[in-house]
Every structure is written in structure tokens, then in C-alpha cells.
């Protein structure tokens, strides 16, 4: 193994990526862990916002529907980078103002919490639309049957609507997850040490740009491959009640 690396002239690169100093590998992995933390948090927050958003758009009154329409339109219209800057600076500023008005003084907002909050709001707008479409795709009869048997609204959402819409929502939600993992890189602009920022710091300290950005690219790719595998399992499970179409493999 070592001779192969040696022969390819990659010894230096591997030393740079080593997990123990002076290698920067640990920094990259720490960045990756932060990215995953934010992606997971933002995705879950986005799903919760999306679920209520979809219900509001489908069943809410005119004011709820208008407010939600403004939310999804604005968030999906403005570039995410701009939104992140706005939400991050305005958001932390508002929280600080509120806190000092209440006499608590400035609060330190953790980068992870801010990242989750900001990306969660962005994700929520897309999730709202994905889930709204998925709920509308459920055959009305299945909802009607639940009503006809006296299911209360919350139970119906939990036992019928959500499981029945999953098979329609999963492909869109899988996309959204992959976008979440990559949107974490945008948080580099507000100085949050996720994978991209860690990579840039390592690269500029060592001048080994190629090595580090290729390594980061590899890490993002691995994350995507694992996610794709996981989502295909989830989709298979969500579609357990469907008959395979004749053209489908196996």
C-alpha cells in the first residue's frame, strides 16, 4: 500500500490528510460532523415547518394561506446565500435586541443553532410544497374512510395521512436532504466551521488546495452515497403497499 502511494507521489498529500497533527484530517472530519449536525437539524426543522405549512395551505383560512404563500414564495425566490446572510444577521440581531430589552444583555448564539434555524427556514419552504403535493396525491377515499370510522383529526394525520403520503413525498424529500447537506457549505460565509470552511483553512495554511478540496469533495460524495442508499430503503418501505409496475426491475 505504502509503496503504491509512494510510487504515485502522494506521500505528501496523505501526510497532510493524516488524522493526527501535523495532518489536517481531524479538522476536516470535525467540519464534516458539524455539517451533518446542521443538515440533520435543519432537515428535521424543515420537515416540521413543512408539515404544518402543508396543512395550513390545504386546510387553513385565507389569512393563513396568504401568509404561507408569502413565506414559500419569498424563500424560494431569494438566493439561499442572500437569505442566509439576512436571516443570520437579522436573526441574531433581533434575538440580542429582545434579550437586552428584557435585561439579559447580549447572548452568545451558537453557530450550530443559528445554522439549523436559518437552513431550517429555507428547507421548510420547499418541504411545505413537497408535502402539500404529496398530501393532495393521496386517494381521497383513504382519508374519507378514516373520517367515516370516527378517527379524530390528529390520529388521522398520524395513522393515515402521513404514512399514505410518504410514497409520494420520499423522492422530493430525498432531494431536499441532499440540498440540505450541501447548503451547509453556505454557512461558511458567516464563519461557521463546517466542512467547507475547515477545508479552506487547511488548504490556505498548507497551500495544498487540490488535496484538501478533493478530499472535501470525496467526503460530500460519501455522504451523498450513504444518503441515497438510505433513502432507497425508505422509499421501498414506503411503497410496500404498491404493486410494482410491469416495467420495474424485479
Amino acid at each position: 500500500m505504502e509503496t503504491v502511494i509512494d510510487a504515485l507521489g502522494l506521500t505528501d498529500s496523505f501526510q497532510l490528510l493524516s488524522l493526527s497533527p501535523p495532518g489536517w484530517g481531524m479538522n476536516l472530519l470535525r467540519g464534516l460532523a458539524n455539517s451533518v449536525k446542521i443538515a440533520v437539524g435543519a432537515y428535521l426543522l424543515g420537515l416540521v415547518i413543512g408539515l404544518f405549512g402543508a396543512y395550513g395551505k390545504l386546510n387553513g383560512g385565507p389569512i393563513t394561506r396568504d401568509l404561507l404563500a408569502i413565506y414559500t414564495t419569498v424563500v424560494r425566490a431569494v438566493p439561499e446565500l442572500v437569505l442566509i446572510l439576512i436571516l443570520y444577521f437579522v436573526g441574531t440581531d433581533l434575538i440580542n435586541k429582545a434579550s437586552s430589552a428584557l435585561g439579559y444583555g447580549r447572548v452568545e448564539i451558537s453557530g450550530v443553532a443559528a445554522g439549523i434555524g436559518v437552513l431550517g427556514v429555507v428547507q421548510g419552504a420547499y418541504a411545505t410544497e413537497i408535502l402539500r403535493g404529496a398530501i393532495k396525491a393521496i386517494p381521497v377515499g383513504q382519508i374519507e374512510a378514516a373520517r367515516a370510522f370516527g378517527m379524530p383529526a390528529m390520529m388521522m394525520m398520524r395513522r393515515v395521512t402521513i404514512p399514505a403520503m410518504l410514497s409520494f413525498a420520499i423522492p422530493g424529500l430525498a432531494n431536499l436532504w441532499l440540498i440540505a447537506t450541501k447548503d451547509t457549505a453556505l454557512l461558511a460565509v458567516v464563519g461557521f466551521s463546517e466542512l467547507t470552511l475547515e477545508t479552506r483553512q487547511a488548504a490556505s495554511s498548507t497551500r495544498a488546495y487540490m488535496t484538501f478540496f478533493l478530499a472535501a469533495g470525496g467526503l460530500y460524495l460519501i455522504m451523498t452515497l450513504i444518503s441515497t442508499f438510505a433513502f432507497s430503503r425508505i422509499e421501498k418501505w414506503a411503497r410496500r403497499g404498491e404493486r410494482p409496475m410491469s416495467g420495474d426491475a424485479k
Partner: protein, 257 residues
């Protein structure tokens, strides 16, 4: 069948029921009484309001005005007809089981899971008990070997029999059938009608919207003929099919037989 006696509440009483969709008045004051054990068949042409009438009984459609009582309990209505008391309606619905034209089994649950869903989660029956009862009912409708199948893998007739079993699993006081055979291939109609016939024979109270005139005549003891949102004629099968009085009913019977 229950003899006359004021002490026994009517299984279903519908009084002067109106239902409008926007400006379109679909039901223009219909009434219906079903004693315990009655099998009432509602017949009529398409657009006569028969499905709407059935769906108003369990408030799947909100009646515009009128009065509905199930086993003596009056279901509250606001003047505008919207349900007054969602809790009361949910409780009523769990006693009045419905079988739909398009089966409406929950596609993400197996047949057995479909059967125990309402008993376990709405009626809070212990799961083991619900499963035992579900298996008994599945055996009765001839689907004992299908409990682990998902609905999409069953034929229409099998799905409808499973849907009837699902309705029976809640131990309903009244069963509502909304054109239970209309979505089935002709060769599958017989197996579903057979199950419904058995239920009628064991004294289940049922309201049945159907296009199967022969079947209505055979299993029902009361027939209601709807025409444009009004009850044009009602009576025993012998009266309705043997000696129809109204001209419209005569024409209708000619057109469907």
C-alpha cells in the same frame, strides 16, 4: 325484527333532510326510518341524491338542515347545518360503519392491519382481542389466507369483502353501503352480494344504496325510491317492484331491468 314499541329507539331516523352544494339543492327534504334489523335499499337514477343521502347519515356530507338520530341519539346540528359537535360525530361514526364503492382500504396497511386499525386505535380494544376477531371475520368472508397481503394485491371483489370485514370489525350498530358493487367486474359482483346477503340474514341493520334491483328486492325489507332529491315512493319490495304507483318509478324500473 323488532315489534312495535316506543321503548325501542329507531336504529336510524332521518327527518326532513336538506342538502345543498352551493346553489344546487341535491336533497329537498327526505325522511327515512330504519328499525333495528331493517335492511333499507335506496334506489334511484344517477343524480337522484341517493349517495348524498347515505353520506349525510354519518355526516361525511354535512346536511344543510333536518334531523338525524342514530339509535335514539340526535346528532346536533347548527342552523347552517355544520356539525355542532365533532366529538359526538366521531363517536357516532365509530358505531355506524361504512362500505364504499371504491373500497377505500388503507393501501399502506395489510388486510389484517386495516381490520384492526379502528378497533385498536379508535375504540381502544386490546390488540390481541382485535386480531383474534379480525381473523374470525376474514375467515367468514373467505379471506383467511390474505391477512398479510396489501390491498393492491387483491382483486376488487376480495378488496370489497375485506372492506366489509373491516366494517364488521367495529361491531357496528348500523352499516351503510354506498354502491358496494358498482366498481366491480361483473363476475366479482356475486361474491360481494353473497356476503351482504348473509349479513342481512343475521339481522344486521343496513342501509344500502344500490343499482342491483334484483338484489335489493331479495335482501331489503324496505325500498326507498329517490327522484331529484325527493322520495318519490317507498314501501316493501313487493309494493315497489310488484306494484309501482308513480309513473317515474315505473319508467325507472323498466330502464334498469
Amino acid at each position: 325484527m323488532v315489534s312495535d314499541g316506543a321503548a325501542v329507539p329507531k336504529a336510524i331516523m332521518v327527518n326532513d333532510l336538506h342538502k345543498s352544494f352551493g346553489t344546487l339543492e341535491v336533497l329537498k327534504g327526505v325522511s327515512l326510518v330504519a328499525e333495528k334489523g331493517d335492511v333499507v335499499a335506496i334506489i334511484g337514477g344517477s343524480g337522484s341524491g341517493k349517495s348524498t343521502m347515505l353520506r349525510c347519515i354519518n355526516f361525511l356530507e354535512t346536511p344543510s338542515s333536518g334531523e338525524i338520530s342514530i339509535t335514539g341519539e340526535v346528532i346536533e346540528m347548527k342552523p347552517d347545518g355544520s356539525p355542532h359537535n365533532q366529538k359526538q360525530i366521531e363517536k357516532m361514526r365509530s358505531r355506524v360503519a361504512m362500505v364504499f364503492q371504491s373500497f377505500n382500504l388503507w393501501s399502506h396497511r395489510t388486510i389484517l392491519e386495516n381490520m384492526i386499525e379502528v378497533p385498536v386505535h379508535v375504540l381502544k380494544v386490546p390488540k390481541a382481542e382485535a386480531i383474534a376477531k379480525a381473523r374470525e371475520l376474514l375467515a367468514r368472508v373467505g379471506l383467511a389466507d390474505k391477512e398479510d397481503s396489501y390491498p393492491a394485491f387483491l382483486s376488487g371483489g376480495q378488496q370489497q369483502r375485506a372492506a366489509i370485514a373491516r366494517a364488521l370489525a367495529v361491531d357496528p350498530e348500523v352499516m351503510l353501503f354506498d354502491e358496494p358493487t358498482s366498481a366491480l367486474d361483473p363476475e366479482l359482483v356475486g361474491e360481494v352480494l353473497g356476503v351482504i346477503r348473509d349479513l342481512a340474514a343475521e339481522g344486521r341493520t343496513m342501509i344500502l344504496v344500490t343499482h342491483e334491483m334484483k338484489f335489493a328486492r331479495e335482501v331489503a325489507n324496505k325500498i326507498v325510491y329517490l327522484y331529484e332529491g325527493r322520495i318519490e315512493e317507498h314501501g316493501t319490495p313487493a309494493e315497489i317492484f310488484g306494484a309501482p304507483k308513480s309513473e317515474r318509478l315505473k319508467q325507472f324500473l323498466q330502464s334498469v331491468t
